[in-house]
Subunit: 260 residues, 2 copies
Amino acid sequence: MKINVHFTNHHFDDMYFTGKTSVAIDVLRATTVIVTALVNGAREVIPVNSVDFAMKISGNTFGGQTILGGERNTKMIEGFTLGNSPLEYTPEIVAGKSVVLYTTNGSKAIVKAKFSEIQYICCFNNLPAIANHLCLLNKDVEINCAGTNGNFNMEDAICAGRLINEMMNFDNTIEISDEGKASLNLNKSFGKNILKMLRNSEHGKLLIENGFADDLKICSGYGISNLIPYYVSGSIKKYDAEIVNNINNETKISEDAEEK
Amino acid sequence: MKINVHFTNHHFDDMYFTGKTSVAIDVLRATTVIVTALVNGAREVIPVNSVDFAMKISGNTFGGQTILGGERNTKMIEGFTLGNSPLEYTPEIVAGKSVVLYTTNGSKAIVKAKFSEIQYICCFNNLPAIANHLCLLNKDVEINCAGTNGNFNMEDAICAGRLINEMMNFDNTIEISDEGKASLNLNKSFGKNILKMLRNSEHGKLLIENGFADDLKICSGYGISNLIPYYVSGSIKKYDAEIVNNINNETKISEDAEEK
């Protein structure tokens, strides 16, 4: 099994992730929000890469069950019901709903990898579950860090490093790219106390300045959920072994058909 | 003084570096080639971001004194006189010449930062001299790693980390971005034996496969030159205090004029 890490993804065209197994990471805060929303009963999360598209698919498109969430430069967007704090995604608000999510980096990173065979959503909250699942899956993995405006960010790189570290506890034959080795090293140096690391990060400091200090506590919770959210056909749902097997079988069937 | 590092630069528009002090790094091999060419007497190096443009400005444009060098995906380009191995840039071949350089990552990274107030060219060969010079200059610095096709690469990040480390020996009050902290950490973990690090890097392995193992020895030479190459108005020359002071004065004058 080979693991590749990408600190950023702005330079990829939409085809880069085609057919690959990918993992999206945006610790502060999109992937933590997605895990929280699904844990609290959201039917699905629909990540989008523009506010216009978020507006377009909201409202009655899904029978009035959609709710708009997200941020632009950490701030709430006019016309949206929710911001990008996981604390807002309570069961009372999101249960049974389709959450349409637009964020500056995270939702765009997920949409960028939309042609992945399957894309998982990871944050510290569900990292051990994702690591375990990927090892059982035993396929090459592309870890897609959202980064910040096309730049590296510390928290996503460290989360990627921790994910690889956990996977190596299951399987020590894993091959790792240079970017993966760098992630592992950063996790070893800075990842021991996740909350402290988030508070010291540039993005973490900005969130604290903007009144979101409590979000960092939620985002630092390690392995507090076993949820495995996956993105396929435009929406993120809780992992369901049966559905995913069907997707994989369909891919297999279409590959077989091509061979014939 | 603040130091910012960029592992990649594909996501920047041409204006990002405007008016800033920047340092280009492409250890394997463009910035090592540039330092070598200037040490060996090249009049200047003209980095370009397309093969077409290299062809256009070659030949008689500069009175027959140009020579085309570079590579595409580590291979020599048809119609070019030199590849991208520093070993080719001997005094016999480059002395007195304007070298037009096109490379997959390095020359493009330099052109990307073309609107810097001043841009320095750094590799391990001249790193201590650059560190010393930047500390005397005492301005905020943007370190622009070429990376590989828009991705992070290990050797440029470690070179950036070493540069920051050397600068901190002069000035321990320097402020460093998260990307700078990551570089410092990677240098500490992997930068002790530069040649070994280059041989273990993905790019280094590719060069060895393609017959350029000796290049890694040249590229790992630490502080073997005091040359300070700087890019301004489309060409890279050896640093000359008088010229650079004139440039800075002109900038100062135009800023004063704007204020009035």
